[in-house]
Symmetry: C2
């Protein structure tokens, strides 16, 4: 076994999920994640945790949903029984085919998801972590060789998380104390209020209320957005590729927009509901192991030297108790590369120029 698989398992179990002796852990293993599953089992044994191993097979989900009549009746009691008694849930993604479920009717998928709402809430109450094991299918989607993609994934996952968490704490402090953020780069001149909002230091650990491995971003919930933003990193939204989306905001709301590709997909998102016309998230990517997009939001939004904005729902963690923030059925991230001629400004002070934080140019990191 590649040493990096064992290192990945160690980060997942110890840093991310903080597993301790006696913890009841559910491990969800995707079809292509067997090897990481073995490394995680080894680590759970070492910690004296108690494991239940689920098989998260796209092909079985497809087979089940296609023959089902679509009349789903709430969350299955046995799965509730499992997750209600779980301390932690480790989701080891790693599909063998990113198109494995494309021929499942969308309404059936939706009906199944709606029926399982209670189950999802139970899972969100555990110390859950999403990660992925590199597979050939994911390498293909990223447009990379298998070996190249493995290097990419482990560069992103095997960070000095403690040091990154400290650096991100600095950004969080600036955002927590700040009132207004401005983003300027080619095709973008956008301002938004972050008054009274709280930023999340997403350091890939439940100890930071962060549930992705890799993570490495600081995000908050903006309001009152004004100006224009161009998202120059291509994204796949609802199965379609969206390129160079340019959005104009007035009073916090999208008033005009265009794309060079995938207009229909973006239209569907924006027309979902009122909240989908507003921003729910401003995120600042800080994972320097990720230097290029790979068509996977788990990685793309953490890319260093980029910022992302999400149309739709805001996270409660970012909002004061008496505010609700943007509410919507959707939360769709869009990314702007800051490596060109750019500035990220908080209350008139430039904290990042051309994608480099002020303290980086001072040689601090």
């Amino acid at each position: 076994m590649d040493d990096r698989v064992r290192d990945h398992a160690a980060v997942l179990v110890d840093w991310s999920a903080r597993i301790e002796a006696g913890d009841n852990v559910v491990v969800n293993v995707a079809e292509g994640a067997h090897e990481l599953g073995v490394a995680v089992a080894e680590k759970l044994g070492e910690r004296g945790a108690r494991r239940a191993t689920m098989y998260d097979s796209d092909e079985m989900s497809r087979a089940y949903l296609r023959t089902h009549d679509g009349d789903f009746d709430g969350s299955p009691e046995h799965l509730l029984g499992l997750y209600e008694n779980a301390d932690a849930v480790l989701n080891l993604g790693g599909t063998r085919n990113t198109s494995a479920t494309v021929d499942v009717p969308a309404e059936k998928r939706q009906a199944s998801a709606t029926a399982s709402k209670e189950l999802r809430e139970v899972v969100l109450n555990t110390d859950w972590i999403n990660t992925i094991h590199p597979t050939r299918a994911l390498a293909q989607r990223a447009g990379m060789s298998y070996e190249g993609y493995q290097d990419f994934v482990y560069d992103a996952v095997l960070r000095d998380w403690e040091a990154l968490a400290e650096e991100m704490a600095r950004v969080k402090e600036i955002l927590d104390e700040g009132s207004e953020v401005r983003i300027e780069t080619e095709g973008t001149d956008l301002s938004m209020s972050i008054e009274k909002r709280t930023a999340v230091n997403s350091a890939a650990s439940v100890a930071y209320d962060s549930h992705n491995l890799p993570s490495g971003e600081v995000f908050t919930a903006p309001d009152g957005t004004e100006g224009t933003v161009t998202f120059d990193v291509p994204m796949t939204i609802r199965g379609r590729r969206v390129r160079d989306a340019r959005l104009d905001f007035e009073n916090g709301e999208v008033v005009d927009w265009e794309t060079t590709a995938g207009e229909g997909a973006l239209r569907e998102v924006i027309e979902t509901d009122d909240g989908a016309r507003r921003l729910g998230e401003l995120g600042i990517g800080m994972n320097r192991g990720i230097s290029r997009p790979t068509d996977s939001i788990l990685f793309d939004e953490k890319m260093a030297r980029a910022v992302h904005l999400a149309l739709g729902r805001a996270y409660d963690a970012c909002l004061p108790e008496d505010e609700t923030g943007t509410d919507s059925a959707v939360h769709v991230d869009l990314i702007t590369d800051m490596r060109g001629d750019s500035e990220l400004v908080v209350d008139g002070e430039t904290i990042q120029r051309d994608g480099i934080f002020e303290w980086e140019s001072e040689g601090e990191t």
Copy 2:
């Protein structure tokens, strides 16, 4: 997908486990049983059952057990929560390596099994079924090509179970009404009492209190065994091959024995406890899809034209309420081929001659 995989899933879900709409089903998928898992998911969707899919990985179990300190503390609560809320449990065997766990210390395996006693009892309270998907590793153990082994497995699994259940009911009736069984063939002249014992018609369905697919045997609990038996079908016992075991019984107890191979393994069994010197089971194999041993007890003991006897524990289902039968920590099956010059006699009446039941020679089946 091979049509036979879908047929296997249909027999498993409909005939064996009797799954109905709304049932909470746990499917345990072995590393090599993915394809059968897909077919089962399809069938569960069709029935409107609710599924939880577990991954039963030998390699993960090995990894977990090897690093664990061996101090297991009862059954994990999350697994109890899962199985306590399950109506049915489908175990889809199919390893990729029959030696995958040989380097797990036996005492650790034992400690883990002992700690999970409560969990095992919960599973036994469900409509559980064990079956296997043919893999290359199982073909190798059987000494067969992969294709040849697939044919073998599906011949055994895809029977007319309704017709076989009826024929087996006839044998059950004879045994239930009978008092004494005699088995005669080369190297064997054995008699035993079955007075007041109840035979089980093991027809591969929970409706018959039968939990193996394939099944196809009628078994009861004998007593007061006298004479000599030679088990000419080779068996693997505790990892060692046992050949031509010849046992002499007096007053129901083994008084002398020898083998041509694997003497140590058989000695370990016989010396386990007092019950291990007595018979706990007499089984009559009736699955005509199984005509040769494949070093797998799931198949071997159902082989038509053979009888098996087990040293050790008797099944409660065979005993009257006021009798306990043979009690032991072990239950080890040994098989005698009846295709040679043989007779199976109940209360002086020959019911099977040279492996052929009386009604078969009459052309009834």
